[in-house]
Amino acid sequence: MRSHLLIAAYLLMTTAWAQELVVFAAASLSEVFEDVAIAFEAENPGVNVELNFSGSATLSTQIIQGAPADVFASADTVQMRRLSDENLLFDSARLFTVNRLAAITPKDSPLTELEDLSHPGVILVLAGPEVPAGRYARSVLEKLNEVYGADFATKVFANVVSEEPNVRQVAAKVELGEADAALVYLTDAAALQQVRLIEVPAAYNIVAEYPIAVMRESRQLELAQVFVDFVLSTAGQDILQRYGFGP
């Protein structure tokens, strides 16, 4: 019912003069895709990009339930595969950037090393295991067992007080000073003013691959394809790199 209403509202909007392109994008792309949209609109007069940001898992569920997206940019391949399994992609998805994880703490925190995350009493927040950032965080912590001992990850997990539904809420808990530490994307960490960053060495880090695809049900396949090409172009990649995303 809700999706039908959305479609109705969407149809009403598109009958107006501007050409509307609906882009569903992972929460971690919030700031950078705003800029991508502005640059894209400047190159394509008369086009209006509507952005919808949320956890990738939430977005893929919405699309499976019939939400009218033209383009989906996911923070992991798992959520994109859900859509291809449902035969919802126009053609195969393309990787457009990568991201890595980092730990953050409040500015005045006594925690300085990744090892400190395992100290008893540390208040740690992670994204839930169904969210890409949450899954990556768990795999990073398990890889760190090699450095800090076999029970490092177990001790860290015992410090988790909340498993948040998306990575932005994880970062907010640290910014508010309510959590002692969290694992978020490097790009989130770089954008925050109130936090300090603890880097994860590349050997133990993950490479989060971001795929993008045109949706089969899109009513403007051509324009959607132009947007995807723009994200993959040098202009699009430059914007992504400005926000700390990898090549």
Partner: protein, 268 residues
């Protein structure tokens, strides 16, 4: 009792009927669709999953606690508001409505700013080694914040409906003020109490926004039914639907029993 058949024609006019049908579709279809999808042969199995049982247990525990505290602390507030005029009476009355119209997420941020580690009561508690945020207590506090005004509102109307003269008679017959409250005032407010209690309970059961901000989401500790639905929606649709169905049925039963009790009360 028969109502006058002269005032309104037997067949309702077309326009209001059409409008009602449209709205009813919007109000009833989503609930019906939810139950239709959830009540499949896997429903029983989905109900027995640890995540579902943990959420049910936690919701039952926290709403019971928050409702007990609401009864205990909300009843005196309603009594004072109904029986006495004092400076700030009107302001208090308005302030008590505020939680009903505030978006719950805002309530959660507010609770963090007061009871969070950096908050002005929370920082003081933190020095004593007490942490409120991210605990089951935080869930209960969030529920009281959003739900108790519904109870207070109903109970205030209840106390206003009891004639002061009845209380005066009881007092002149030598009963103490306490006895008068327990034997005269309180029993007469029962229908209002039930109304307020049921509405507040249903609201507490469905509380999401304030909880996820103030208490976070952790299975068995702060992940109540609505939070579990949100968390499992993406990984385990059957479990999410089972929880959603339980929540819907529980809310329906609460309201249904409430109507029955009201009828019973009126007939008495």
């Amino acid at each position: 009792m028969r109502t006058s058949t002269l005032a309104t024609p037997r067949l309702p006019p077309l326009l209001p009927v059409a409008a009602s049908l449209i709205l009813l579709l919007l109000l009833i279809l989503p609930t019906a669709a939810l139950l239709w999808r959830a009540l499949n042969p896997q429903f029983a199995a989905a109900l027995l999953r640890p995540a579902v049982i943990e959420a049910l247990r936690l919701s039952l525990l926290t709403t019971t606690l928050s409702m007990l505290l609401t009864l205990l602390l909300g009843t005196p507030v309603a009594y004072l508001l109904a029986r006495y005029r004092f400076p700030g009476h009107r302001l208090l009355d308005v302030l008590l409505d505020l939680p009903l119209v505030l978006p719950p997420v805002v309530a959660g941020v507010g609770l963090l700013l007061v009871f969070g580690r950096r908050g002005f009561i929370g920082s003081w508690l933190n020095d004593l080694g007490i942490r409120v945020a991210f605990t089951t207590l935080a869930v209960v506090m969030a529920q009281i914040f959003v739900a108790s005004p519904l109870y207070i509102r109903a109970m205030k109307a209840g106390f206003l409906s009891v004639s002061k003269r009845l209380e005066a008679v009881s007092l002149t017959l030598g009963r103490s003020r306490w006895e008068t409250f327990w034997r005269v005032t309180w029993p007469l407010t029962l229908p209002y109490l039930i109304e307020g209690f049921v509405l507040a309970w249903a609201r507490a059961l469905g509380e999401f926004g304030a909880t996820i901000v103030f208490a976070g989401s952790f299975a068995g500790r702060t992940r109540t039914m609505p939070l579990a639905i949100y968390a499992t929606l993406e990984s385990d649709l059957d479990a999410a639907l089972a929880l959603a169905a339980v929540l819907t049925i529980a809310a329906f039963l609460l309201l249904f029993v409430f109507r029955l009790l009201l009828r019973f009360g009126r007939r008495r």
